[in-house]
């Protein structure tokens, strides 16, 4: 049997046995939803509808309703795209990278983090889609035989790499998530007494029976998928960063972008996981599974990735001066002292200064502080993308074409709308899906459960 040092804090608190885990996680699905859930989903749903309305208006009128102009051709749309993709990264990191490193604490959070990944990538994919203007021609990104003599898509272009990266990332994450869900759906199926829900969960569980051979394959498949998803997650945000880095725009054309974007993505993703889980553990009474220790581990990841991001910002500044390229230097001088200086300093404060507070144990184990800082980090990371995209574009090589970007209500409406859609989807997930990976938690109960640890020593 696997043993764990007594000095490690237990990951499952309280006097739990296998049945309690099932009951604690499946209970909220069987019972009636609390009032707060209805209130929240109504608010989120209304915002989502508003966002969809804005998208319809945008598509039927044209991209001109955004605040873009001929100098600033990319602004909130791509900012939101990168922000959402970045948020998605934490889910894969938790489920794949931590699985490879055999970090047991991932088991309490991986299911909901992966759900978050999938919903966030859906929101991200919306933006390049609607930015095309004629979204009905979106299939042109695929290498399909066509009537222009079969003019193929350009495989040298990072924008096309992105198409492949995002679609692979989305579909592989979805499969990884669903394969983990199948045995848990079977647990719900076998517990349900209501005929309709039994049938639905039966369908969702694909007839899983928990045979020994099935479990062997399950573990192998999870491990291989984790092995595939790990380089995948690094490649996705690297490729997103190459949308910028392979261009010749000062402020974008830097080799530091791929690692800098990946750590920024993990940083913002963990912040979003914390925002969601801190509420979820409270509302669904999962304090025994998502413990303070889990929160602390996540905060440590935030310090590490936040510091990497901070080093990247400073390196960028140094290199812009050291390069001796005046356009490059100006891009950065303009960032911190130009008309968008407030966005730059908001980014610096939120991303570089605020996560350093987690060095204090009091702060990183305090739920309120963590919640507040997780929102600060998310705001900071949004500003980071805004700063990179808009400040680099708005003053280009020719001063006569310098201009400013001001968002219109449609820009704002769609961004807020995606947050609404995201929360609607997450609330539906929390209501009807097993939010913790039941089968995985049961495997660590005897090793890391509080009761079992106490009995051992």
């Amino acid at each position: 049997m696997h043993k764990e040092a007594a000095i490690r804090e237990p990951l499952i608190l309280g006097d739990k046995n296998y049945h309690d885990i099932t009951a604690d996680v499946v209970g909220p699905i069987e019972n009636k939803a609390p009032k707060a859930w209805y209130v929240l989903i109504t608010i989120a749903g209304l915002i989502a509808l508003w966002g969809l309305g804005c998208v319809v208006y945008l598509i039927s009128t044209g991209i001109g309703v955004w605040g873009l102009n001929k100098t600033v051709g990319w602004a909130w749309d791509i900012t939101n795209f990168v922000w959402w993709v970045g948020i998605g990264h934490a889910g894969t990191l938790i489920s794949a990278v931590l699985l490879l490193f055999r970090q047991k604490w991932r088991m309490a959070i991986n299911r909901s983090a992966e759900a978050m990944t999938i919903f966030a990538v859906m929101m991200a994919a919306l933006f390049p889609g609607i930015h095309m203007g004629r979204i009905w021609l979106a299939y042109w990104v695929l290498p399909l035989p066509n009537m222009f003599g079969s003019l193929w898509v350009n495989f040298n272009s990072p924008l096309l790499w992105d198409v492949f990266a995002i679609s692979t990332y989305f579909s592989v994450s979805l499969v990884f998530w669903y394969i983990g869900l199948i045995p848990d759906f079977a647990t719900i199926r076998d517990r349900m007494t209501n005929k309709t829900s039994k049938k639905i969960y039966g369908l969702l569980s694909f007839g899983w029976s928990g045979k020994a051979k099935q479990w062997t394959r399950f573990e192998e498949v999870s491990l291989v998928l984790a092995g595939l998803a790990t380089p995948l997650v690094f490649s996705v945000h690297s490729i997103v960063s190459m949308d910028f880095a392979t261009s010749v725009i000062p402020g974008w054309h830097t080799t530091i972008f791929p690692p800098y974007f990946v750590s920024g993505a993990v940083f913002s993703g963990f912040a979003m996981v914390l925002t969601l889980l801190l509420i979820m553990r409270k509302v669904m009474k999962l304090e025994n599974y998502i413990t303070i220790k889990h929160v602390e581990y996540m905060n440590i990841v935030i310090i590490v990735t936040g510091s990497i991001v901070g080093v990247a910002y400073i390196t960028e500044l140094f290199i812009s001066w050291y390069s001796g390229v005046e356009y490059e230097s100006y891009a950065f001088i303009n960032r911190f002292s130009g008309p968008y200086f407030w966005a730059y300093w908001a980014m610096m404060t939120c991303n570089v200064v605020s996560p350093q507070l987690f060095w204090f144990k009091k702060i990183r184990t305090s739920l309120m502080a963590t919640f507040a800082l997780s929102i600060v980090v998310n705001i900071g990371m949004w500003f980071e993308r805004f700063v990179i995209i808009v400040t680099s574009l708005h003053r280009d090589y020719v001063p006569s074409s310098w201009s400013m970007f001001y968002p219109t209500w449609v820009d704002i409406g769609i961004f807020i709308g995606t947050i609404g859609i995201f929360f609607t989807l997450f609330l539906l997930f929390a209501r009807f899906f097993p939010v913790l990976a039941l089968n995985e938690l049961k495997t660590i109960l005897k090793v890391s459960g509080e009761k079992y640890k106490r009995e051992d020593h």
Binding site: F164, T168, A186, G210, L228, P231
Partner: protein, 172 residues
Amino acid sequence: MFDDDHRLLEAAGDLVGQGIRVKEVYSPFPIHGLDPVIGIKRTRMAVVSFMFGLTGLSLALLGMWYFMIQDWPMNIGGKPSFSLLENVPSFIPVTFEFTVLCAAHGMAITYMLRNGTLPGMPAVNPDPRTTDDKFVMEITSEENPTMTSEGLTSMLKGVGAIEINEKEIAVK
């Protein structure tokens, strides 16, 4: 039926040691170390994934060679466009993504088929509690013709089973 994974594991070891063949074990989570005891071979899912990955890799390179080199070479920013080898650096990202796509989905589909878990398939676990906190070991008389049912029952009791159910299953 057992109520503890370790007890089942020990029991399986004991029974197999006495020449009993265990047909199947149903459990709510994987029991590590059980497979060699009841004679389950290592799964070849990883090999499957590797094969699909190789297929994806070759397809991606073949496709890009055809689109960008063979069928319609284009001058894009002066990048090389007349040989696959020269152009391959900018083909790496798509090659990698497509390899992962094929490896992951190919393996996932194979996994579903081999496991018999597809939408609409019936579940065959003998007791609904096996997806919650109970562990069931299935032993058939066909595989163990020398044992009497009473003998088996007392043996199972001896190794700590909490519940023993005997069922006549129609032989197909």
